[in-house]
């Protein structure tokens, strides 16, 4: 794993700011097996991911669309456990820092009593750089935030299209690592275009000096370009990668495709960044969904 903590507050901030425009990739650990996940993560790393989110599967993934739900079901059916997950993380050798994405109950239940600390400590020990919890809004986050602070992990918050006004200030005041900008209302899942809400959100967030990465629906290099052009520091891609995994007849087939996809997305992001530098005045028109 890389260690670039110098001018930045954390590995994660460094991974995004230092590699601008950043590519953040997500896959579900254990889909279809932890061994395969290892190969996939390394492929994503090679393809140019600057930060990698690994999903620890939970039986009730209320924030996920059908693609990631199916991945989680496959991972659970393969017997993926938190301990297996941490061992995978320990085993991984990537340039990009790693984040865990999971639901709050998985974090609470890791120790012998419901408590967030054992999970956070284990995550830090395994070499993870941060945590994202899709069912943990800022209001309920203090215990986990404290534990992350104590263990040098970032706790990533999601900014939704509905996050506005005072609440936006309150959430932004807690952000560490980067702000996960939810591109549209709804759940995760590859979409064919970039939502108009993305532009609104990025505009609303422009006054906050934190890295912003946009996820939910990004699936192609061209989306990545548009999003970066709209002012994001990074793009987050998940379902599009899982589609590749799910549609491979043989798990090992997916490795090259994942690497290629990551490269395409990274190229797209770079294209967006170049447009920005070429023509900084030209704000692109939001595309209608």
């Amino acid at each position: 794993m890389s260690d670039t903590s110098s001018e930045y507050d954390s590995d994660i901030e460094a991974a995004i700011r230092g590699n601008h425009p950043a590519l953040i990739t997500y896959i579900t650990a254990g889909d279809p097996s932890l061994e395969d996940t290892k190969a996939y993560v390394e492929a994503l790393d090679r393809g140019g991911s600057d930060l990698i989110e690994l999903g620890l599967p939970f039986s009730e993934p209320i924030a996920e669309g059908q693609t990631i739900q199916a991945a989680i079901n496959r991972a659970l059916a393969a017997g993926t456990t938190p301990e297996g997950f941490f061992e995978l993380v320990e085993d991984l050798e990537t340039e990009a820092p790693l984040l865990v994405m999971t639901y709050y109950n998985m974090i609470l239940q890791y120790g012998s009593e419901p408590d967030v600390r054992p999970f956070v400590e284990r995550a830090a020990e395994a070499g993870l750089s941060g945590i994202i919890v899709p069912d943990l809004p800022a209001e309920e986050a203090d215990p986990l935030r404290d534990a992350c602070d104590d263990n040098g992990l970032d706790l990533i918050f999601i900014i939704a299209p509905t996050t506005e006004g005072e609440r936006l200030d309150a959430v932004m005041s807690r952000v560490s690592g980067f702000a996960y900008v939810q591109a549209r209302l709804g759940t995760t899942g590859a979409r064919a275009n970039v939502s108009g809400a993305t532009y609104d959100s990025l505009a609303r967030l422009s006054k906050y000096d934190v890295p912003k990465a946009v996820g939910f629906g990004v699936s192609e290099g061209d989306h990545a370009a548009e999003i970066i052009e709209a002012g994001a520091d990074g793009v987050i891609v998940g379902s599009a990668l899982i589609d590749i995994i799910a549609s491979s007849d043989d798990p090992s087939d997916a490795v090259d495709a994942l690497e290629a996809k990551a490269a395409e997305l990274k190229r797209g992001a770079r294209r967006g960044a170049e447009t920005l530098t070429d023509d900084p005045e030209d704000t692109p028109e939001p595309e209608q969904p």
Binding site: I62, M106, L108, A138, E140, A160, T162
Partner: protein, 421 residues
């Protein structure tokens, strides 16, 4: 309503919690909607702004059929040698207590200017109640229902469709209630600005557990008045089944301050109280009796879960009790000793079903039959004056009861030869 709030404060920490339970564990996108709802709940429900509660009560009377009777059960009283009264929520429009909540929430959504209603349903009782309320109040309505439940609860699907609701089958996982809730949350996260999600029990993120309880609290308020009139005093004990716990909290709420009244929440003991962690299965849904603390569907509460935090699949002969979670307020009331968690197994519930049908001429829901099963088993512990909530009618359960009865040798069942040909 102000006195109720004071009473609540005795055991609520304020905000959205009951002791350690409750909270708002939902995706960020939903938080503004929950705050809007909390605000509407406080204004309309707690403060009766714009006469909301007056309209709610009028509609529950004229459309819903409130008050429901409190009936002395003559033959059960004789059988158990004590006074047994039944609260007849089975007579409410739609056939269960569910309408109290569904109508309250749909009306609230209307006051809030929402344009669309969504809800999850398991057995279909909450779905049909919501569809009825939405038709009555002219709101478009979509119901999410697991494919398995769609297939086994077809009459309820038809009822919802007749009321003009869309029914969306959910194919994920075991395709039952848990998955339907997940899917409804996903819809809500997509459409939250114009849509209200009518949660079907005292579960979910704050303010749902309190709000649903307040809509259901009329059950216990009526019982208090009715038993005073009929028996001249408060009961020694009050018994209600508990799935998510809405009929339970609705029945108990008014009695919580009455320390002399024992409160029994009867859960589904299923076929065994053991959890099979390996396969993620609990052959019961006795959450209060056997569950551990965790977060599910937006709230911290007692749950049926494996050691690593995966939620297990609950099982009960009664679809409406078949849920791995329970309302956070009940978890708290159990922790502080105010509510006694109990359970009866499938056989006892089936016997309870048959017994009430034969002795009193009331065919209870299989959910409610658990409370009646407990009455049979433990009547000696319940004092001289007992109230049991009959949360719904059993018409929906006939096929299940026939099938399950044929498999067993049940003491209270009639000989049910099926009329063939």
């Amino acid at each position: 309503m102000s006195t109720e709030r004071e009473r609540d404060d005795e055991y609520e920490s304020g905000g959205g919690t009951f002791g350690d339970y409750g909270g708002q564990y939902v995706p960020e996108a939903l938080m503004p909607a929950l705050q809007e709802l909390e605000d509407a709940y406080e204004r309309y429900v707690l403060e009766n702004e714009d006469g909301f509660m007056d309209e709610f009560r009028d509609r529950m009377r004229d459309f819903g059929g409130r008050p429901t009777p409190l009936q002395r059960a003559d033959r059960l009283s004789e059988r158990y040698d004590r006074e047994v009264y039944l609260k007849r929520e089975d007579l409410l429009h739609g056939g269960a207590h569910k309408l109290n909540n569904a109508l309250g929430q749909v009306l609230l959504a209307k006051y809030m200017g929402k344009e669309r209603i969504i809800a999850e349903t398991g057995a279909g009782q909450h779905g049909t109640a919501t569809a009825m309320a939405a038709a009555h109040l002219d709101m478009p309505c979509e119901i999410y229902m697991g494919r398995t439940d769609v297939n086994r609860q077809r009459p309820n699907v038809y009822r919802m469709r007749m009321n003009g609701a869309e029914v969306n089958p959910v194919e994920a996982g075991s395709a039952t209630l848990k998955e339907a809730i997940n899917e409804t949350m996903r819809d809500w996260a997509t459409t939250v600005e114009r849509t209200h999600y009518v949660i079907g029990s005292v579960v979910g993120p704050h303010p749902f557990p309190r709000m649903v309880r307040d809509f259901q609290a009329v059950i216990g308020e009526e019982i208090r008045d009715q038993i005073r009139e009929k028996a001249g005093r408060l009961p020694d004990s009050v018994v209600a089944c508990a799935g998510g716990g809405s009929n339970t909290m609705g029945t108990f709420h008014a009695f919580v301050p009455d320390e002399g009244v024992d409160l029994y929440a009867v859960e589904a003991g299923g076929s065994s109280l053991e959890i099979d962690e390996e396969n993620g299965m609990a052959p019961n849904s006795a959450t209060l009796s056997t569950g551990t603390d965790g977060v599910l569907h937006g709230a911290m509460t007692k749950l049926l879960q494996a050691g690593d935090g995966q939620i297990v699949e609950s099982h009960s002969v009664s679809a409406g009790l078949d849920y791995a979670g329970v309302g956070p307020e009940l978890s708290h009331l159990v922790d502080i000793g105010r509510v006694t968690p109990t359970n009866v197994d499938d056989d006892d519930a089936l016997n309870g079903f048959h017994r009430l049908s034969r002795l009193e001429g009331i065919i209870p829901a299989l959910e409610s039959s658990h409370a009646l099963g407990y009455l049979e088993e433990e009547h000696d512990e319940l004092g001289d004056l007992v109230v049991v909530n009959v949360s719904g009618r059993g018409d929906k359960d006939l096929e299940t009861v026939l099938e399950e009865t044929e498999k067993r040798d049940l003491e209270a069942a009639p000989e049910i030869e099926v009329f063939d040909g």
